[in-house]
C-alpha cells in the first residue's frame, strides 16, 4: 500500500493555512489509500485537525491541492465534502440531545437516501446497524445514550450520508478502554470492507495494533508521511512528534528555597484509577507540567485556585492547609492564578483596564476604605501598570476586550505578579500570543521566580514547558506519569509519556 498507488482515496498536497497571520499549516501533505486505517498523530496544535478540516471543507486552504479518489477537488463546504464521500466524526458530537436517534439521523439526512419520515430513518438505521455490526436503537433519546453510543450514532449518520472516507477526530479520547478497543476493531472492519479510515490521535500506542500506516505532523508540517507501522519503532515516533528542539538549556537556579506548595494525594473526578497527585514546589523554581489537553489539567488548576472541591488529598501553601479555603483566603496567603482562558476566568472583558487591574486590590482596601472607591487612585495605579508592563493600545479607561491577546495577558500579569505573590499557577500563559508577547510573559514569570516565588506551569506546549521549567512532570489521565530534572529530560521520555496509554 504505497502512497504512489494509483488513485488514492484522499490526497492533499502543499497545503497552507494561516489564522490571523499565524500559520497553522505549512506545506502539509497527506495520502490515504482505500482499505487502510491511517493514523494521523502529533501534539496539540500540530495541525492534524486543521488539515482534516481543510480536507472536509470546513476551512478553505490558503494554498494547496486536494484529490478525492484521483479527482482534483477542493470541497468548499462540509456538504460538498460529504457529497464527495468524505466525512468526519468529530470529537464533540453534533447531535440534538432531546431528539431520538432516528430524529437526529432524519435531520442530518435531510431527504437523502429516501428518508422522508422518522419510520424511514429508523429502518435505514436498523439496516445499516446490522450491516456494520454496531448495535443502536433508533427510538432511544440521545440524552439517555452513553458517549460510546452517541459516537455510534455519529458513525451511522455519516455512513448513511454515503461516506467512504471516514475521519475520526480523537475517537478514543472520550471512551473507556473496552469501548476504545471495540471502536478500533470496527475501524478495521470498515477499512476491510473497502472504506478508507483516518484516526486523528495523540495516543499512537493505543491505536497501533489496528493501524496500517502513520503520518506524523509537527508545527503544521508533515514530518513523516504514511510510513508503514511495522517499520517504525516507538522511540522514533516519539522523537518525531516532539521534535529535535528539546535542548534543555541550563538556567540560573536560585538555591532551592522553602517548600511553598505541597500537594499530596490530590484526587478529583475523572482521574484514572491510582494514587492522587503529589507535588512539592520550592521557592525559586518552576515546575512544568506537560501533557496533552484534557488529561486533568483544568481540574488540577481548579482545585488549586479554589473553584473545585477535591475528592481527597491536601494542598499546603507555605505550610498552611488551604485544601478547603476560599479563593480570597488563598489569595491573601499568596496564591496567584493565570488561567488558560483569560476572559473566562481572569478578566472581565466589558470592564475597563483600571477596573480589571483593581479587582483583587479593592477587597483588600488598596483603593480607599469601603464603601468609598477611589477611582483616581485606580486610574493612577493602572497608568503605572500600563507603563511597567508595556501594555500597548491601553488607557486606564479603555475596555479590556479591545486589547489584543498579548496585551490583555499583560493586564492579567500586572495584576497577578504583585508584591504578595508566593505561588503562581500559570496555565498556558503564552497560548495564542505572538513571539514578542510570549517572550514578555515568560520573562515576567522568570523574574518573579528569581525574586523568590514559585511557579507551577501547566501547558500543552512543550516549548513553553522547556523554556521555563527547572523540573518537568508529565500528566496523563489525571495523574503524574513521571517527573524529572530538566537536565534529564529527553524527547523519548516526554514523547513516551505523552502518547503512552498509562
Amino acid at each position: 500500500m504505497a502512497a504512489a498507488e494509483p488513485s488514492p482515496a484522499l490526497e492533499l498536497h502543499g497545503v497552507f493555512k494561516a489564522f490571523g497571520g499565524k500559520p497553522a499549516l505549512e506545506d502539509a501533505r497527506f495520502s490515504l489509500a482505500w482499505g487502510e486505517v491511517h493514523a494521523l498523530v502529533g501534539e496539540n496544535g500540530a495541525g492534524k485537525s486543521t488539515l482534516m478540516n481543510v480536507a472536509t471543507g470546513v476551512y478553505a486552504a490558503d494554498a494547496g491541492s486536494q484529490a478525492i479518489d484521483g479527482v482534483a477537488h477542493l470541497p468548499s463546504s462540509p456538504q460538498e465534502a460529504s457529497a464527495a464521500g468524505l466525512a468526519m466524526v468529530h470529537q464533540h458530537f453534533r447531535l440534538v440531545e432531546r431528539f431520538t436517534v432516528a430524529e437526529n439521523v432524519l435531520l442530518a439526512l435531510d431527504g437523502k437516501g429516501g428518508a422522508r419520515s422518522i419510520g424511514d430513518a429508523a429502518r435505514l438505521i436498523r439496516e445499516k446497524s446490522a450491516e456494520i455490526g454496531l448495535a443502536i436503537d433508533p427510538a432511544r433519546v440521545v440524552e439517555s445514550l452513553s458517549t460510546a453510543e452517541r459516537q455510534r450514532v455519529e458513525i451511522i449518520k455519516v455512513l448513511l450520508l454515503g461516506a467512504r472516507v471516514v475521519i475520526f477526530d480523537e475517537p478514543t479520547a472520550v471512551l473507556t478502554e473496552a469501548e476504545a478497543s471495540s471502536l478500533l476493531r470496527f475501524a478495521r472492519r470498515l477499512a476491510d470492507s473497502g472504506h478508507a479510515v483516518v484516526l486523528i490521535t495523540h495516543k499512537l500506542k493505543e491505536v497501533s495494533r489496528h493501524t496500517d500506516r502513520v503520518t506524523v505532523m509537527r508545527h503544521g508540517r508533515t514530518v513523516l508521511a504514511g510510513a508503514p507501522i511495522a517499520s517504525l519503532d516507538e522511540a522514533e515516533v516519539g522523537r518525531l512528534i516532539v521534535g529535535e528542539t528539546v535542548i534543555p538549556t541550563a538556567r540560573p537556579r536560585t538555591a532551592p528555597g522553602a517548600r511553598l506548595l505541597e500537594i499530596a494525594g490530590l484526587a478529583f473526578p475523572g482521574q484514572m484509577p491510582g494514587e492522587g497527585i503529589g507535588i512539592v514546589l520550592k521557592a525559586g523554581e518552576v515546575l512544568g507540567i506537560a501533557g496533552v489537553g484534557g488529561n486533568g489539567q483544568e481540574d488540577l488548576v481548579a482545585c488549586l485556585a479554589g473553584s473545585l472541591k477535591p475528592l481527597g488529598g491536601d494542598i499546603l501553601l507555605d505550610g498552611r492547609d488551604i485544601t478547603m479555603a476560599s479563593p480570597v483566603t488563598r489569595r491573601r496567603r499568596g496564591l496567584r492564578v493565570i488561567p488558560a482562558d483569560r476572559f473566562a476566568s481572569g478578566l472581565v472583558r466589558q470592564m475597563t483596564i483600571a477596573e480589571n487591574l483593581a479587582m483583587t486590590g479593592i477587597a483588600a482596601g488598596a483603593y480607599g476604605r469601603s464603601p468609598r472607591l477611589d477611582r483616581r487612585r485606580m486610574e493612577k495605579a493602572a497608568a503605572a501598570a500600563i507603563a511597567d508592563f508595556d501594555i500597548r493600545g491601553a488607557a486606564p479607561a479603555r475596555r479590556t476586550e479591545l486589547l489584543s491577546g498579548g496585551n490583555a495577558q499583560k493586564v492579567l500579569l500586572a495584576r497577578e505578579l504583585d508584591a504578595g505573590l508566593k505561588v503562581l499557577i500559570a496555565h498556558s500563559p503564552s497560548r495564542g500570543l505572538d513571539v514578542r508577547a510570549t517572550e514578555f510573559v515568560r520573562g515576567a514569570i522568570r523574574a518573579a521566580v528569581e525574586k523568590g516565588a514559585a511557579c507551577l506551569l501547566i501547558s500543552e506546549d512543550l516549548q513553553e514547558i522547556l523554556a521555563l521549567s527547572h523540573r518537568v512532570a508529565v500528566m496523563n489521565g489525571g495523574r503524574i506519569a513521571g517527573i524529572r530534572e530538566i537536565d534529564a529530560v529527553t524527547s523519548e521520555w516526554i514523547g513516551g509519556l505523552l502518547t503512552g496509554h498509562v
Binding site: 478553505a60 468548499s76 463546504s77 472581565v348 469601603s370 472607591l373
Partner: protein, 361 residues
C-alpha cells in the same frame, strides 16, 4: 470567511463617545413619536389635538405636570428596584408582589397606629421596605442555594402577595363603615404632607433622595463596582475573590425593599388606604424604566418621569378622544421599541462589505 452568505455584518463600536448615546436616544424618540402620531391620527385623533394633549397638557399645564410628577414617584422606586437587581443579572419580575408586601406593612402600621405619631410615617415606610425585602428573600435563597430560576419564582410570588391582600381586605381589614373590600383611611400621621400643587406630596423628595443615594452607591462605591463585575462575569468575580454571595444578597434584598417602599409610598402618598388596585402595570414600567436607563439610577429618574408623562397623556387620550386601551399600549410599545433599537446602535454599527467575499484557494 465561511459566512459568505451574510452580506452585512454588525461591528461593535470601539468608542460610543459622549454625544452619540444622547443623539441616538433622541433620534429613537423622534422616530417613535412620528410613527405613534400616525397611528393616533389613523385612530381618529385630530393632528392639532395631539400636540395639545401630548406637549401642552402633559408638560406645559400645571395640572398635567403635577399629575406626571405624582405618578413618577413610585415609578422611580420600582425602576430603581429593577435596575439594581439588573446590575447583577438578577431578574426581579416580582416587583408588584413586593409592592403589595410593602403596602400590607404600611397599612398595618397605619391602621393599628403603631408607635408615636411623630415616627408613624417613617416607621410605616421602613416596614414597607422590610416587607418587600422579606417577600423576595425566599426567591433569593432558592436561586443561590438550589439554582431555581428567579424569573419564575419572583413572578409567581406576586400572585401570592395579591391573594394575601385579598384575604386581608375581605377579612380583618374590611372597612366596617362601607363593607367594601378596602381598608379604613390612613390617619393623617401616616400620610405624606401635600405640597399644595395638585396631588404632589413630600414623598417625591424621598424618591429623589433614594435615587441619588443609589446613584452614589452604584457608580462611586466598591459595592457598585463589585456589582458590575458580578453582573458581567460571576465566574471571574468568584475566582478573583470578590464577595459575590454578600453583594448578591444585599442587592436583591434592596431591590425587593425598594419595590416594597414604592407600595408604602403609593398608599401613604395618594391612595391613603389599601384596596385591590395598587400596582396596575408597575412591573412593566419598572423593567422599561431600568432598561432604558441602562441600570443607571439617575437615568431611572429621567425614564420614570418620561413614562409618567406618557401615562398622563394616555389617560387624557382615553377619556377625551375615546382612543381604545389597545391603541395606547401599541403607541407606548412603538416608542419604547424605537428607543431600544436606537440604543443598540450606540454600541454597534452596520458594516456593508464592498463586494461579495471570495473564498481563498
Amino acid at each position: 470567511m465561511s459566512n459568505g452568505f451574510l452580506s452585512a455584518t454588525l461591528l461593535r463600536r470601539q468608542h460610543a463617545g459622549r454625544l452619540r448615546p444622547v443623539l441616538s436616544n433622541l433620534a429613537g424618540l423622534a422616530f417613535g413619536i412620528t410613527v405613534s402620531s400616525a397611528i393616533l391620527i389613523a385612530a381618529g385623533v385630530p393632528a392639532d389635538a395631539l400636540i395639545d394633549e401630548f406637549l401642552v397638557a402633559t408638560f406645559l399645564t400645571s395640572d398635567g405636570l403635577a399629575q406626571t410628577v405624582t405618578a413618577a414617584g413610585p415609578l422611580i422606586l420600582v425602576g430603581l428596584a429593577s435596575a439594581i437587581a439588573m446590575r447583577i443579572r438578577f431578574w426581579n419580575i416580582g416587583v408588584e408582589g413586593q409592592m403589595w408586601a410593602g403596602a400590607i406593612a404600611a397599612t398595618f402600621v397605619a391602621i393599628h397606629q403603631v408607635g408615636p405619631e411623630a415616627t408613624r410615617l417613617p416607621l410605616g415606610l421602613v416596614l414597607a421596605f422590610a416587607g418587600g425585602a422579606l417577600w423576595i428573600w425566599p426567591m433569593l435563597v432558592m436561586k443561590v442555594r438550589f439554582g431555581i430560576n428567579e424569573v419564575i419564582t419572583t413572578l409567581l410570588s406576586g400572585n401570592l402577595a395579591f391573594l394575601l391582600v385579598q384575604h386581608l381586605l375581605f377579612g380583618v381589614w374590611r372597612d366596617p363603615a362601607s363593607s367594601f373590600p378596602i381598608s379604613i383611611e390612613f390617619p393623617p400621621a401616616s400620610q405624606f404632607a401635600m405640597l399644595g400643587w395638585g396631588q404632589v406630596h413630600t414623598g417625591i423628595i424621598l424618591c429623589l433622595a433614594v435615587a441619588v443615594v443609589a446613584w452614589l452607591l452604584m457608580e462611586f462605591s466598591t459595592l457598585g463596582y463589585f456589582a458590575t463585575a458580578i453582573g458581567f462575569s460571576r465566574k471571574v468575580a468568584a475566582e478573583t475573590g470578590l464577595p459575590v454571595r454578600r453583594i448578591t444578597t444585599a442587592l436583591v434584598l434592596a431591590s425587593g425593599g425598594l419595590a416594597g417602599l414604592a407600595g408604602g409610598l403609593v398608599l401613604s402618598g395618594t391612595q391613603h388606604r389599601l384596596s385591590q388596585t395598587l400596582s396596575g402595570g408597575y412591573l412593566f414600567s419598572a423593567i422599561v424604566a431600568a432598561y432604558l436607563a441602562r441600570s443607571n439610577p439617575l437615568g431611572v429618574v429621567v425614564t420614570a418621569v418620561a413614562l409618567a408623562a406618557v401615562y398622563t397623556a394616555s389617560d387624557v387620550l382615553k377619556v377625551f378622544y375615546s382612543v381604545s386601551e389597545a391603541v395606547i399600549v401599541l403607541v407606548q410599545g412603538v416608542v419604547l421599541m424605537s428607543i431600544l433599537v436606537a440604543q443598540f446602535f450606540t454600541q454597534f454599527s452596520i458594516h456593508l462589505p464592498d463586494r461579495p467575499k471570495q473564498r481563498g484557494r
